[in-house]
């Protein structure tokens, strides 16, 4: 294109890339320092630790009841995925296919939990959950995490559903499919890539979402990120390396989910696939 060849333009471009490079370098440093520390024997005032060891991981495993925390994290994430699919997929279908009075208001209700930060509504939500005896329980944590996840699934899926030709559904109706059959045999298979993408993103978000779990969890049902917060908060009680080992476990868990998500999530690709299926 019209590349600016004057000195000012070049300097500007150089500056922009320098900022990006500086940001990524520091980001790499932040992440690497956690990984290196978790593998070091002792590290104080030198570039690298004196020696390397893996015993902080077994320490973290026993000291933080990491097995239990991971189990809670997976239970919460699994239930949130299931719940947001059951609630979100049909709602997304209705929003994509029907125009009705008050639709804008419904959209507003769904968009609010996504744009209002969790800490703002977390405290009233927690008090409602405590009122119904759900505060500090696993069910409470799951319900709280579902609040932003259900609208999230809806807003990811609506464009996917709009891409599917309504004549496919009309044809299924002509051949006598009821709403349930239509859903199970036509829509869900066509939407599978979109649903998977949305659910993997829900998984990533649920593992990473700190505030709602923090405000609603009791001591027995903390997820990984909340347990990590408490151990950093109470720094000095445990060895930093042990906390960092836990941080690495958290990081690896969410990065694996992210990589899986990014394999699914390129929307153009998914729409293309849905259209190809349709054409057969």
């Amino acid at each position: 294109m019209f590349a600016t060849s004057d000195i000012g333009g070049r300097l500007w471009r150089l500056g922009v890339w320098a900022v990006v490079g500086f940001f990524l370098l520091n980001l790499a440093g932040i992440i690497a320092s956690v990984v290196v520390d978790s593998l070091g024997t002792s590290w104080f005032g030198t570039w690298l630790p004196d020696g390397f060891t893996t015993h902080w991981y077994s320490d973290a495993w026993s000291g933080f009841q990491l097995g239990g925390v991971l189990q809670v994290t997976l239970e919460v994430a699994g239930a949130v995925i299931l719940g947001s699919a059951i609630l979100g997929v049909p709602a997304a279908y209705a929003l994509a296919r029907r125009e009705f009075a008050g639709k804008k208001l419904v959209m507003l209700v769904f968009v609010l939990p996504l744009i209002i930060p969790p800490f703002t509504y977390g405290i009233p939500l927690a008090s409602v959950l405590y009122q119904f005896g759900l505060g500090g329980t696993l069910a409470g944590v799951i319900l709280a995490n579902l609040v932003p996840s259900v609208p999230f699934v809806i807003f990811i899926l609506v464009p996917f559903i709009e891409q599917i030709d309504p004549r496919v559904e009309a044809a299924a109706r002509v051949f006598g499919a009821g709403t349930w059959d239509l859903f199970r045999r036509v829509m869900v298979p066509l939407l599978m890539p979109g649903i998977l993408a949305a659910l993997v993103l829900v998984l990533v978000r649920t593992i990473g979402l700190f505030e709602l779990t923090f405000l609603t969890a009791g001591p027995d049902n903390q997820t990984l990120v909340v347990a990590l917060y408490y151990s950093v908060f109470a720094a000095g009680i445990r060895a930093t390396q042990s906390i960092d080992a836990m941080a690495v476990v958290y990081m690896v868990t969410s990065l694996i989910c992210l990589i899986v998500a990014l394999r699914f999530v390129d929307p153009t690709q998914i729409v293309g696939r849905a259209k190809k299926v349709e054409a057969h």
Partner: protein, 304 residues
């Protein structure tokens, strides 16, 4: 589509209601919306209203506005508003100011996917992990200070954590990628031929930005500012972990948490949450109003 009944309806009153509903767009398919809507009403709208109600019923009595008068009469508590604003506004502006030129440059890049993937990482890792990493990396004995010292740029380690700077940096580490992604999506929506036309007519880069890109981007930038601001305004974990939670970075979320979970005064905690929400709404409304003054062109990214 339902089949159209050929026979006359047997019960005219009921049928006509059904027909009327269908004409307004309500049928069995619309009903699929109900479970999700009820869920969000029960666990989001109801708690929000309950929070307002609770905040007007103080735990220790003293009239329905007691929580709010208590909040605004204690400088240590109402000061958190200004502490939070002093943090959230500059952080959001810095993140936006960084995002726009980078997004304009990345738009012309081939391998956008690699950069966006790298930038998604801090969003995924979240503030807690970022905070723990920053304690190592930006600490007095961390790599950052060591590099600066071995380059003889500084003689003593700079204090970058457990203060305002720490929270500021952590908000940039996790907030910048978020801003950048949003701005990039708005920037890619602008038709490049508009800028090409301006360049052909002799507009310089600065003029093209001022007269073409900025007006088309204004609405998107306003939305990005609002979304990034409300996130920064409700900062909690990093303000505790890499900040100085009892002093310079005692943000409003800490005050709300302290009231609800350390003093077990859910009524006061809800009052602070309500104040937090109201301030966010005020700032968002202000920014949207400003952007409506600024932007007068057709909607969309110039695709029409």
């Amino acid at each position: 589509m339902e089949t159209i009944p050929l026979t006359a309806p047997a019960t005219p009153g009921r049928e006509s209601l059904k027909r009327r509903l269908e004409r307004a767009g309500f049928d069995t398919t619309t009903l699929l919306l109900a479970p999700a809507l009820l869920f969000v009403l029960a666990l989001f709208i109801y708690p929000a209203l309950y929070g307002v109600w609770l905040s007007l019923h103080p735990m220790n009595g003293g009239g329905w506005l007691a929580n709010y008068t208590a909040f605004f009469s204690d400088p240590y508590v109402y000061g958190t508003i200004f502490t939070t604003l002093e943090l959230a506004v500059p952080v959001t502006l810095v993140n936006l100011a960084l995002s726009v030129p980078i997004a304009l440059r990345v738009r012309r890049m081939r391998h956008q996917r690699l950069l966006t993937t790298l930038l998604v990482i801090p969003v995924t890792l979240g503030t807690v992990l970022t905070a723990q990493g920053m304690l190592n990396y930006f600490g007095p004995l961390g790599w950052f200070n060591r590099v600066l010292m071995s380059l003889h740029l500084i003689h003593m380690p700079v204090r970058l954590v457990h203060n305002f700077t720490g929270v500021f940096l952590s908000q940039i580490v996790s907030g910048f990628p978020f801003c950048f992604m949003l701005v990039l999506s708005y920037v890619t929506g602008i038709d490049p031929s508009l800028e090409n036309a301006a360049a052909m007519l002799g507009a310089r880069a600065a003029q093209r930005f001022r007269h073409i890109i900025l007006p088309l981007l204004a609405a998107g930038l306003a939305i990005t500012f609002c979304l990034a601001f409300v996130q920064a305004f409700s900062v909690f974990p990093s303000a505790v972990l890499v900040g100085a939670p009892s002093g310079p970075t005692r943000v409003i979320a800490i005050a709300a948490f302290h009231a609800a979970y350390e003093e077990y005064d859910y009524s006061m905690g809800s009052a602070i949450a309500v104040i937090m929400g109201v301030i966010q709404i005020i700032v968002v409304a202000l920014v949207m109003w400003l952007s409506s003054l600024f932007y007068r062109g057709p909607a969309g990214g110039g695709k029409g």
